[in-house]
Structures are given as C-alpha cells and as structure tokens.
Amino acid sequence: MNHDSYPDSYILQILREVRTIAMVGASPNWNRPSYFAMKYLQEKGYRVIPVNPAAAGETILGETCHASLKDIPVPVDMVDCFRNSAAIPPIAQEAIAIGAKVLWMQLGVRNDEAAARAEAAGLKVVMNRCPKIEFGRLSGEIGWMGVNTGVISSKRKKVVKS
C-alpha cells in the first residue's frame, strides 16, 4: 500500500468491514481528541474499546478501559493508535498477536517499519489519518463543516456503514 495516498475504496472497505475497534491512548477526558473520535465512532455503530494503562479499570463512554490490547476479552477488528510514532512498534506487535485485521495510526502518526511488519502479517494499515474524519469525509458529513471532501459523484451519497 502506498501510505502517502490511500484510494477512497481502500478506506471505505476498512470502515465497512470493521465492527470492533480498540483505541490505544483513549482518554477519559471529554475534551481530548481521542474522546471525540471514540464518541463519534460509537454513534456510527462501532464498538470502541479503550486501551490506556493510566485509565485501566475506568469506564469511558460506557466501555471498560484496558491496560493493554492483550487484556481485551473479545475479538478486535481494528487497532486505532492515539500514540506518537515512536510508540507504535510494540502496539503493532500486539495488534498482530491478538489477530486484528487493521492497524490504524492517527493524524500525525506514522511508523513505516511497524506498518511493514503489520502488512507482512496480513493486516491492512492506515497512517496519518483519523477514522472519524475519514468516515465524515466519505459519508459527506464533514462537508457540513465546509471541508473539502474531494469526493465528486452524481449518485446519492453512499452510506458508509449501516
């Protein structure tokens, strides 16, 4: 995968297939970006399970926060990383170990080595993107904020996920 430019179809397929997302670095603080993304993705029908050792055992948006990916008792489809680029390799390793299908790194986060390892293990990888923004962009919702989605179509707006 060319990580400088993802086709819309690649992102759309991920957002359609994924059901359960582990959010590493999720914050219990309502005004943090991770909280925004978690709440939005929940409203779109995803189950989002927070992972943050500093908040382990706490409840964030109705979900119990775990100390690590390995502590999550249910299958995880996608690991979404709200951590800096240098912190990614061990998270990628764990994502592979728990059988996640997608490794997603947030805006500003990119680690090509970890991405290559995850891809070699069969995972799809997205870097330097936000699933909330991508969902909003591909559904047209983010256009309500005047954002340039880059989508041109003569068809009714597609439903990203039902």
Binding site: K39, C130, V147, I152
Partner: protein, 428 residues
Amino acid sequence: MSNRKPGFETLAIHAGAAPDPTTGARITPIFQTTAFVFDDVDHAASLFNLQAFGNIYSRLTNPTVSVFEERIAALEGGRAAVATASGHAAQLLAFHTLMEPGDEFLASRRLYGGSITQFSHSFRKFGWNVIFVDPDDPQNFARAMTPKCKAIFVESLANPGGIVCDIAAISEVAHAAGVPLIVDNTMASPWLCRPIEHGADIVIHSTTKFISGHGNSMGGVIVEAGKFDWSKGPRKYPALTEPTPSYHGLRFYETFGDMAFAVATRAVGLRDLGPTMAPLNAFLSLAGVETLPLRMERHCQNAQKVAEFLSKHPKVAWVSYAGLPGDKYHALARKYLPRGAGSVFTFGVKGGYETGVKLVESVELFSHLANIGDTRSLIIHPASTTHRQLSAEQLAAAGAGPDVVRLSVGIENVEDIIADLDQALAKG
C-alpha cells in the same frame, strides 16, 4: 470519478454537491430553515461539543451553505472553507481568529477602499492595528515586520488599480517571520489565480463579485489551505492552540489539525459575531459559480479589447490593465494570472475629476454603481464614490486619484461595450 483528478470546470459544477439522499433532487435544495432537530439530548450534546458533524442552527451551518463552502474550498485547492454574509464579514472573522487586542498585521496599501477603511478604523476598535505597506517590493513587508504582527494581507489583483502582487515572494517573507499570508482573491477568482499554489495560507473572497457573478447575492468566504503550523512558530495564535473557554478547554489545532482555522472561525467567530451567509444567497451563488470558467474567459477577452481601445483613445491619459504588454504589472500577471488579467481595471481621463463625473453620468449600457464582477458592464468614479472616505494621500496610494475611472467589463457584446464608452467619452 475513480482515479482521475477532476479539472477545475468539473469542480465548479460538482464539488460539494450530490443528489439529495432523501428526495433525489439533483440541484442542491434551498434549506430555508433556521434550526435542525436533535435525535436526543446526547446527540445535541455531541453537536454542541463539536464531537459529531451535523447541523444545529443556520447561524453556524446550513446544508445549502455548506455545499457552497466545499465548492469554493475545492476550487481554491484548500482544506476547508467558511462562508459569510459578505467579503467584509469574511475579513472580520479571519482576523478575529488570528488577532488578540494589541496585535498588529501588515496589509498592502493597494486594497479595495472599503478594506482600507475597515482595517484603519473599525478594526482599531478591537485593538487590531494595521500597518500599510507598499506591496511592489515584497521586501517592504520584511522591513515593516513587528514582533506583534500576526498576519500579512494582500489582494492578488488589487482593486481598483490592477496591481498584481508577487504572492510567492510575499509568502516567503510571511513564512520566514512565522505568520500566515492572507490573500484576497476576489478580483481574480480561482479560475485566474490560485493563491494557495503560490504559498497563501488563507484565501478570502467577496463572493458577491465574480464567483456569484450575476450581481444578485452578497457573500464572502474564507478558505484555509491547511498547511500552516499554528503551534511551531515564535508567534502565538491562542485562539487555535490554547484551551478555548467557551468550549470547555478544547484546543482547536490539536483536535482539528489541518482544518483547525476553519473550524475555529466557524465555531467561535461565526457563532459569536454572527455574519452568516443566507441559504438563498448560497443557492444563487452555487448556480453562478458553475459557469465561472466560461464567464471569466469572456470577461477577460472583453476587458483586453476594451483596454486596448481605451489605450489609443485621445481623451484617455493612461490605462492601468495588467493585460496590456507595456503595463508595469504585465510580467507578474503572466505568472499569477496566466489565463487573463481579469476584467476590472482603471484608466485616467484627461480633464480630471469633472470629466470623470461626466463620463459615468453619460454611459447608457454601463451601469453606474458600486460593485464589480457582474455579467453587466459597470463603471464608477472611485474618488466621488467608493473611495470618498479616504484622504487625498490615501486616494493616491490606493490608485483612486481624481481622474481615475474604474470599469468592470461585463460579458455583453464587446463592440456594444466599446461603442458605449466611445459615445460617453465624446460628451466629456
């Protein structure tokens, strides 16, 4: 469109719009409503906290207006846009996000007279202090730079004098100082000039002019390029990087990244100051912008012929049109406005103020009014109208001396346009 990058003409018609998901309506409907229902209180909370995308109240967002915003963001090659009630409102909101009381900004002194007045007087009431700079030498901006400066503001093609700014050179000065470059692209329109490609960080329009194009709708827009790092430089942009008290400590740049300026300008500036674009104006402007490339082509062709005619007319002292080969700004126009030098320009009548007044009162096809960028040809004598609040010194600096007449050449038959000027000049 799968793998093709759509061309400008395609974006002008399609960007931001899609058939209505409920009704299948192909043209963007006019959502003439003030407010939008919430699913429940939790949904309402998410919207108010900016955690969900959605409509609350048409002062903040409206589905017709947002199609227009995305359209212009796409045409300018920007990340996001915020529409406003007018071009002046766009300037007010852009500076409201960037400036704190006591801050300063540098502005070209070759600007639309209304902008000079807004910056010189009304902005000072907010404690925002403008320093005007001669834009012809980009280094003048470096020489005038101050520690409290938060932005540089220029017009790509200045109204009324036909002055072309060296956007790339001025953007280098701005970025070396750590401030964003704001370019008012009203006179050029994105069809003629794309300031973001030359280093602009924020582009502003009075969409009342060529973008809407038919003289029927007031409007403005602010486009964010999405490339400026608000947190890195020595200069502080607390409205973007610091916790926002009215959003419970939200930091816009951290949360919204490359669209933080646009989101903050909407969520704080538009919310609290309130100059919203009306849905009907957005609808009319959407219809107008679809033909922007075609109109601008004809505007420029007609303006070129009119400028050539005037430059040979015995009653005309000079013509300031960057499309003329001998013009001072011709080389810059070739670089920044390769498809044409626009259709608004000035010329000087022999005989000064009285002759200028006589000319604007003698035309029969041209409309004597204070606007530009209409399909109709327009004429004005700035010294007696748009620029009359300025001092004699400011008039000269703005290129609006007593002999100056400004034309906005329309897309009527060019022979008719020339004949009207010819008969009116004969009466002067």
